[in-house]
């Protein structure tokens, strides 16, 4: 069964460093998303991406964050200068065709745990 894959599973970084989290969405999906979940808390929407541009973004997704789909398969989230409060699990998701229910069913990756020291 197709799945969303994320790498690395765990990333440790020093405060102020740049990190890139990588995701390979399901191959025929059109919509891509990043979420984060601080330990024990709810899932927070960061950004959605469609047709090679950001579709929606939340207040969390400030200038420190950026997304890219560099080669038609990978979907990356970059945090330019990490802060302690960026420590969280980051989930990538993708969803399918343009219309109807298939667009709305999101498939999530296993997540990348980001630890900022």
């Amino acid at each position: 069964e197709p799945e969303v894959t994320q790498t690395p599973s765990h990333q440790v970084t020093q405060m102020g460093q740049e990190v890139i989290l990588r995701c390979v969405p399901i191959s025929n999906h059109l919509y891509f998303y990043w979420y984060r979940q601080i330990l024990g808390q709810k899932v927070e929407f960061l950004v959605s991406f469609y047709n090679n541009e950001i579709s929606e973004k939340s207040e969390i997704f400030d200038d420190q964050f950026s997304v890219e789909r560099p080669d038609g398969s990978n979907f990356t989230l970059k945090i330019r200068s990490t802060k302690l409060e960026d420590s969280a699990m980051y989930f990538c998701a993708s969803s399918g065709s343009m219309f109807g229910v298939a667009k709305n069913i999101q498939y999530f990756g296993a997540g990348t745990r980001l630890s900022v020291l």
């Binding site: 919509y31 998303y33 979420y35 709810k42 899932v43 927070e44 929407f45 959605s48 469609y50 579709s55 929606e56 939340s58 989930f91 998701a93 229910v101 667009k103 709305n104 069913i105 999101q106 498939y107 999530f108 990756g109 296993a110 997540g111």
Partner: protein
């Protein structure tokens, strides 16, 4: 500020019992989603509700949406231990259908 509130936050129930989880949201939306998350795992999409009055059922779970009341429910029938997980609702608030706000989550423990 958009609020998506679930209650209860924690639910411990015996196998075989029925219970309902509630999801209230504070904005106009007719797109509501339910997800399941097992401890330390990712999220699994359970239900997509795209109109007022929508009802979806899968096994022992049934979800419904009342957009006028801004309320969705997830009903559990004859709970079994395998249903133990955290359940999240999420509301899509955008015109593009691509911006999701999650509820606080309900941690369900089913006791044998």
């Amino acid at each position: 500020e958009l609020k998506v509130e679930q209650n209860p936050l924690f639910l411990s129930m015996q196998e075989g019992k029925n219970y309902t989880i509630y999801c209230n949201y504070s904005t106009t939306s007719d797109r509501l989603y339910w997800y399941r998350q097992d401890p330390g795992k990712s999220l699994e999409s359970l239900f997509v509700l795209l109109s007022n009055g929508a009802v979806k059922q899968e096994g022992r779970l049934m979800a419904s949406l009342d957009t006028k009341a801004r309320l969705s429910t997830l009903h559990i029938t004859a709970a079994v231990h395998d249903l133990s997980a955290t359940y999240f609702c999420a509301v899509d608030t955008s015109n593009t259908g691509n911006q999701f706000y999650f509820g606080t989550g309900t941690s369900l423990t089913v006791i044998p």
